[in-house]
């Protein structure tokens, strides 16, 4: 059908232009939310969702070919697993370094309070969660969007497009 072609090649020129301008800002904002999670509202999950929104935005505006160039499915799955693994690794490092699972083993001083590095391991956890959520949420959206209903004869039929 006609609109299928439109979807695969993305939306109109206006949307594409605006998207080009905005996507960098959203990405930086997501990174900010992740990095300042231990000091202000936000954190790994919220920031990760914003980062995933960047990819979803690109996918909606330009079609999935372009987003697959940045983040193929395999790479997404790998980043997701990597995020979870690094989270676990830091948790286990607490057990290894100071004998207690999940122990915050990076020392923090009173002088560093309310600064970026005051959270100890929490910052690393946040980054790990953000990686996981970003890749995971993007993949969920992507996998759900590759099936599409088309009209075949007088029956609706669902096709999968890779």
């Amino acid at each position: 059908m006609n609109d299928e072609k439109n979807i695969s090649s993305g939306m109109s020129e206006v949307v594409k232009t605006v998207c080009n301008i905005v996507e960098g800002f959203i990405f930086v904002f997501g990174c900010y939310i992740v990095l300042y999670g231990q000091l202000s509202p936000g954190g790994g999950f919220a920031g990760g969702v914003i980062l995933a929104a960047v990819f979803i935005l690109i996918m909606l505006a330009f079609g999935k070919e372009r987003v697959l160039k940045i983040m193929p499915r395999k790479r997404g799955a790998f980043i997701e697993a990597l995020g979870a693994l690094s989270f676990l690794a830091v948790a286990w490092a607490g057990l290894y370094v100071s004998g207690i699972f999940f122990k915050n083993f990076i020392p923090t001083t009173a002088a560093s309070h309310f600064k970026l590095m005051s959270g100890g391991t929490i910052l690393i956890y946040n980054i790990a969660i953000a990686l996981k959520v970003m890749a995971g949420l993007f993949l969920v959206f992507f996998v759900l969007s590759i099936t599409r209903v088309i009209l075949e004869g007088d029956k609706l039929k669902m096709v999968k497009k890779q």
Partner: protein
């Protein structure tokens, strides 16, 4: 106490390592073999850890935060018994999967989900915190939803959706009940709530939350008015997953969590559950009699056998709880064995219809023999484990002054026997059909795994010996009986 950390850390790490390998390695054969090796090593290590940790009780504060502030991991006799059961069955199931899962396309995804489910179950057993209990229940449930629909055939997807809706309602109930408890006491730690409840009066709000918990865990345990999802979901899953679901998942998520919360946190009277247990026993076995699909028949028997466990525990006497927990261990062994056998039959024959089988003992002696042992165990024949646990439950019924319950339990047992004689007659004895002459025995790993379980079927009947019982079963019974004394676990 550190050893219990690894019971959660290992499967979770393994699941993500396999997922990462799946994304990084191109060749499918390498992927399958490495995920086989990793998953089996991990489950073997975990079975080793769990089986050697009898008697190591205590509580561990995660992150070094003291208890009401941080979350903790707590292990007492009951959870250790369950851990040993769960991890042993999990090892047998992964061993079995090496050959069995070859028929499906993505083995490494399967192992990832399987290990995540295991993480969830171990977490439920070890968690000392109500909200973490909920989170781990959800981890186990979500991966089991996905595993039920793993084959993506029409029936499997339908069963998975049904299971998901029922399980989703149950999880929401649990969350609501946890929220009510938090609003009443301002803490989430199970030990602290237990202390707070024992000094406070039973307000309507608390009763409502207890009701929600019972309803939710009854859905998860598939006790009869809430059983609708089980006969669909368990047959739809791949055989090792059915073995895990029927063998340990309904017990961990349903019976363990229910017992822990009713007996240890609320210290409430559980006798209301006894009629539910009786109804489950009878209806489950009656529905099973009419089935011709092998796995579906086994699934209905799961409902029935869970009824025995609930009956035993709800008597509230030491003997009743001993019988209930003993039957729990036994049921997980022989029901997993039966499901693995049905998987082996389906692997070679390509069908689960009892009417199309017959005489399989001649071509599949190991499968036939082990399933004969399992059938006798589940029907309660003397040398096997099922006999002893059912005997203890029936004795406990009589001893606590409910001879009527004992009568129903005996009747259920006889019907179980007749139902399994039917399975044996249709599938393994009788005349071998001409088209099945060429069938070979199940592959090596599958056979090893079922033989291990069959040996366990006989070996666990040794648990009635006082010396063994005092190490394995008695601490669990004491932990359940101690009621609000559970709170002592945090120092």
């Amino acid at each position: 106490m550190e050893r219990y950390i690894y019971l959660i850390l290992l499967p979770l790490g393994g699941a993500f390592i396999i997922a990462a390998l799946n994304a990084a390695v191109k060749s499918r054969d390498t992927r399958d073999i490495t995920s086989d090796i990793i998953a089996n090593l991990i489950t073997l290590a975990m079975a080793g850890i769990a089986l050697t940790s009898f008697g190591i009780n205590g509580s561990y504060s995660v992150g070094g935060w003291p208890v009401p502030l941080g979350i903790n991991i707590a292990a007492d006799g009951f959870s250790i018994l369950m851990l040993a059961t769960v991890n042993t069955i999990a090892f047998c199931a992964t061993l079995y999967s090496i050959n069995y899962m070859d028929q499906y396309t993505s083995k490494s995804h399967y192992y990832s989900l399987f290990l995540l489910m295991l993480t969830g179950m171990n977490g439920v057993l070890l968690s000392g915190d109500l909200f973490n209990l909920f989170v781990f229940i959800e981890i186990a449930s979500i991966s089991s939803y996905a595993l039920v629909g793993f084959g993506t055939e029409a029936e499997e997807l339908e069963a998975s959706f049904k299971y998901m809706v029922m399980g989703g309602i149950a999880s929401t109930f649990i969350l609501l009940a946890v929220a009510i408890l938090y609003s009443s006491f301002g803490v989430l730690n199970m030990a602290n709530i237990s202390q707070a409840i024992s000094v406070s009066s039973q307000t309507p709000l608390l009763k409502f939350s207890l009701f929600l918990f019972i309803a939710a865990f009854s859905i998860k345990a598939a006790i009869i008015p809430f059983h609708a999802w089980l006969p669909d979901a368990h047959p739809a899953a791949p055989a090792p997953v059915s073995a895990m679901l029927s063998g340990v998942l309904i017990k961990t998520l349903g019976i363990y969590a229910m017992t822990r919360i009713i007996m240890n946190i609320f210290a409430a009277d559980v006798s209301i559950l006894a009629p539910l247990g009786i109804i489950s026993i009878m209806l489950g076995v009656l529905l099973a009699l009419g089935q011709t699909d092998m796995k579906r028949l086994f699934a209905y028997h799961s409902v029935s056998q869970v009824g025995y466990i609930i009956l035993g525990i709800s008597l509230g006497t030491p003997l009743g709880i001993l019988g209930g927990l003993f039957h729990l261990v036994n049921h997980s062994i022989f029901k997993s064995l039966l499901f693995l056998n049905s998987g082996a039959v389906a692997y070679r024959l390509g069908t689960r219809e009892l009417n199309e089988m017959g005489g399989l003992n001649k071509v599949m002696p190991i499968t036939g023999g082990t399933s004969f042992i399992a059938s006798l165990s589940i029907a309660g024949m003397p040398p096997f484990n099922g006999f002893f646990s059912k005997l203890i439950i029936i004795l406990a019924c009589v001893q606590s002054g409910h001879p009527g319950f004992a009568l129903w339990a005996v009747a259920g047992s006889i019907l179980t026997l007749s139902s399994f004689m039917k399975v044996q007659k249709f599938a393994f004895f009788g005349k071998l059909a001409e088209k099945h002459k060429q069938i070979k025995e199940a592959p090596l790993m599958m056979s090893i795994s079922v033989v291990i379980l069959a040996v366990l079927c006989i070996a666990t009947s040794l648990l009635v010996l006082p010396k063994v019982k005092n190490i394995v079963l008695q601490p669990a019974v004491d932990a359940v009986l101690s009621g609000a004394g559970y709170a002592k676990i945090i120092r």
